[in-house]
């Protein structure tokens, strides 16, 4: 096999969905329901049943419009939390669908907590309570009900096929056997989630993948989009989360559930000093520790044993490591406060604003290419319902656009995909490389950590450091091009590394371009440590001939529609 390269599978679909997570599954379901004749193909890197962010389960529906509240209030909340850098049209259009998506999840079988009148029980103004442990199997059971949806699991997509008139499919390879996939499609939806693993993680040793965001969401969608010149926005708005120490489990369950406040080592509450936004909370824990008042905790001492049992169960439904930690250490939350820390930076459009620059219908700037979920920028705080809402919006746009989208020219495509397939095959035939993929990954993470504002740099960076980081990423990218694979598993790791390096290549120019510090918890530009009102714009980027060009775009306050212009 080694010498004759990979077996080639060619498939044609009307609509290709890359990534079968929350957004991708719901997009496929929406399109299949609206048009039973449409041939829809989902390519998923793992198995849709437990892939992506939803693998372990989720805690609550974090984006919902509770009774007596409005979508406009949600918009204003997001604007406040993201310090103004948001697209009104994107936030409003998803917010209008939060509740219908939640109702559909209930119809599929998701368990919601209800009051005596049958209404969902809320947690705060925007959350409703569920049992989210099996949200992914529930969603995929619905997906697999439709005869016009085909799902191919365990295929890692690496690149989009760009023809003269836009994107017309994608290429990838099977992760468990030696085959390459070329899929042609009139419309392609990218829904591969965000990116983790560019920075040295909280637990860099044995538990290096015990991170909050899935380490298997490697930013493939950002990378393939960047390579075909799609415009990206707000990568500099990285996400640094406040999480439970060691297990990196979410803290909202404790904070919102039992009303626990953040306290420092001296027992002082400190949150109001930094503000209650997501960035403010992350900044609080980091700064308190930096100034010698760490570690910080969520003050749970004194909660009842019943509350403690309920917390243990809630964590088993989404982050079982935390429950195990409480039991094993003997430090139960009713007797010991829960230590918290800031995470390494992630790029994730479902929490902050990084990702594809899309129009209101989730069309990217490249014809034939659509995007939904964590891979889309400009609309923070979308969470699971917002990601699904975006899948629905994109699917509706695709159905509307399909008649006008060109038929795929197979000959052009074959020649486009040939280069890529030759590249995969070459990796399996060449001799061993001096460095292996894990060494290069470590080098990338160290570099980003030290010079592009990682944990050990206390999330601070300056122009000079970023230039060093950029040079090293360029070297590592070159070195990665000659990595060889003994099997498809190594092949997967190589392309995961390449995704991450490409994300870094986009991220660093974004960090350089914002001459201010707008979200101090997510990163401090030490050359410009203050916020500057003149920087109220989007930092966007496009790759042209391998160079990332920055474009600044104005905010769109009050606009409910946005169309691409140039």
């Amino acid at each position: 096999m080694r010498n004759d390269g990979l077996k080639l599978e060619k498939i044609h679909a009307d609509m290709l969905v890359i990534g079968g997570g929350a957004a991708g599954c719901y997009a496929a379901i929406t399109a299949a329901r609206l048009n039973p004749n449409l041939r829809i193909l989902v390519l998923e890197k793992a198995n849709v049943r437990r892939s992506g962010c939803l693998a372990a389960g989720v805690n609550a529906i974090n984006a919902y419009i509770v009774d007596n509240h409005t979508e406009k209030e949600y918009l204003e909340y997001v604007r406040w939390d993201a310090e103004k850098i948001i697209r009104d049209d994107l936030v409003l259009s998803m917010a209008k669908r939060f509740n219908s998506v939640a109702r559909n999840l209930e119809k599929m079988g998701l368990v919601f907590l209800k009051d005596e009148n049958g209404n969902y029980v809320s947690r705060g103004k925007r959350n409703v309570k569920i049992n989210g442990e099996n949200i992914k199997p529930i969603l995929t059971a619905e997906l697999l009900r439709y005869e016009n949806i085909s799902v191919i699991n365990h295929v890692n997509v690496t690149d989009l096929l760009l023809g003269e008139r836009g994107v017309c499919g994608a290429v990838g390879f099977a992760v468990n056997y030696e085959a390459a996939f070329v899929v042609t499609a009139r419309a392609t939806l990218v829904a591969t989630g965000g990116a983790a693993g560019m920075y040295r993680p909280n637990n860099p040793g044995f538990s290096r993948h015990k991170m909050w965001y899935p380490p298997f969401n490697t930013g493939a969608g950002y990378a393939m989009g960047a390579r075909v010149g799609a415009e990206m926005t707000s990568f500099e708005m990285r996400f640094v989360a406040q999480r439970c120490k060691d297990t990196i489990a979410p803290t909202g369950t404790i904070a919102l559930g039992v009303g626990a406040k953040e306290v420092n080592a001296k027992g002082e509450t400190y949150a109001s000093r930094y503000g209650l936004s997501t960035s403010g909370r992350a900044q609080g824990a980091t700064t308190e520790a930096l100034e010698g008042r760490g570690p910080c905790y969520l003050q749970t001492v004194g909660i009842s044993s019943e509350q403690e049992d309920d917390l243990c169960r809630a964590y088993l439904n989404m982050a079982p490591a935390q429950t195990l930690k409480w039991l094993e250490s003997g430090k139960s939350p009713s007797h010991f406060n829960v230590e918290i820390e800031g995470t390494e930076p992630y790029i994730v459009g479902g929490h902050t604003g990084s990702g594809y620059w899309v129009d209101t219908s989730r069309r990217t700037t490249i014809p034939g290419l659509y995007a939904a979920g964590d891979v889309v920028g400009g609309a923070p705080k979308k969470f699971v319902t917002g990601s699904m809402a975006e899948g629905e919006i994109a699917a509706e746009a695709i159905l509307g656009d399909l008649p006008a989208l060109p038929e795929v020219d197979n000959e052009i495509l074959t020649s486009l995909s040939q280069d890529k397939i030759a590249e995969y095959s070459r990796r399996m035939t060449d001799g061993e490389s001096l460095y292996d993929v894990f060494e290069l990954e470590e080098a990338m993470q160290k570099n980003m950590d030290n010079y592009a504002g990682g944990i050990s740099a206390k999330y601070r960076y300056n122009e000079k450091q970023l230039t060093i980081a950029q040079e090293r990423i360029a070297q590592l990218t070159k070195m990665a091009s000659s990595l060889t694979a003994r099997d498809m598993d190594e092949m997967l790791h190589i392309y995961e590394l390449i995704d991450r390096l490409t994300v870094c290549e986009t991220l660093i120019p974004h960090l350089k371009a914002r001459h201010e510090t707008r979200w101090p918890g997510f990163g401090v530009n030490a050359d410009y440590p203050e916020r500057n009102d003149e920087c109220e714009y989007f930092v966007n980027s496009r790759r042209r001939n391998g160079v990332v060009e920055i474009v600044k775009r104005p905010l769109t306050v009050g606009k409910e529609r946005y169309e691409h212009t140039n």
Binding site: A46, N47, R49, R50, S51, G52, A55, A56, N59, A60, V111, F112, L113, V121, R123, K129, I130, N131, G132, E133, N134, N153, H154, V175, N203, G205, F206, S207, R208, H209, K210, M211, P214, P215, F216, D246, T247, T253, I254, L256, G257, V258, Q307, D310, L311, C312, R313, A314, L316, N317, P320, A321, T323, L324, K325, L327, E328, S329, D489, L492
Partner: protein
């Protein structure tokens, strides 16, 4: 963060191999499940929940405070049992009903 697969209990059904979101579990020459690189594990517990033979146990790495405790999983209809064994203590069984929403 990681899991351990008991070769004696594994029947090679492949459910965990299918489910792992990182494609981390492979089959050995006998068809049994192996986690190639334990340090790549996310700790999502999908494999634990998919295995009907209690062959998978879950533990915390020493670097994140693990002291050797193991957690297993067993499904009884709609009730999930999370079974924790810690040396020198009675085994713990936490039952979670799928029909009950989280209080928090």
């Amino acid at each position: 963060m990681s899991i351990r697969i008991d070769r004696n209990l594994c029947v090679g059904c492949g459910a965990c191999v299918e489910a792992c979101p990182g494609n981390l579990i492979k089959r050995d020459y006998k068809g049994k499940a192996v986690l190639k690189r334990p340090e790549e594990c996310w700790g999502c517990a999908s494999c634990l929940k998919e295995c009907r033979f209690k062959a998978v146990s879950y533990f915390l790495g020493a670097d994140i405070g693990g002291q050797g405790a193991l957690m297993q999983f067993e499904r009884d209809g709609d009730v999930s049992h999370w079974l924790v064994s810690i040396a020198g203590r009675e085994p713990i069984d936490i039952a979670v009903d799928r029909h009950c929403a989280n209080k928090y």
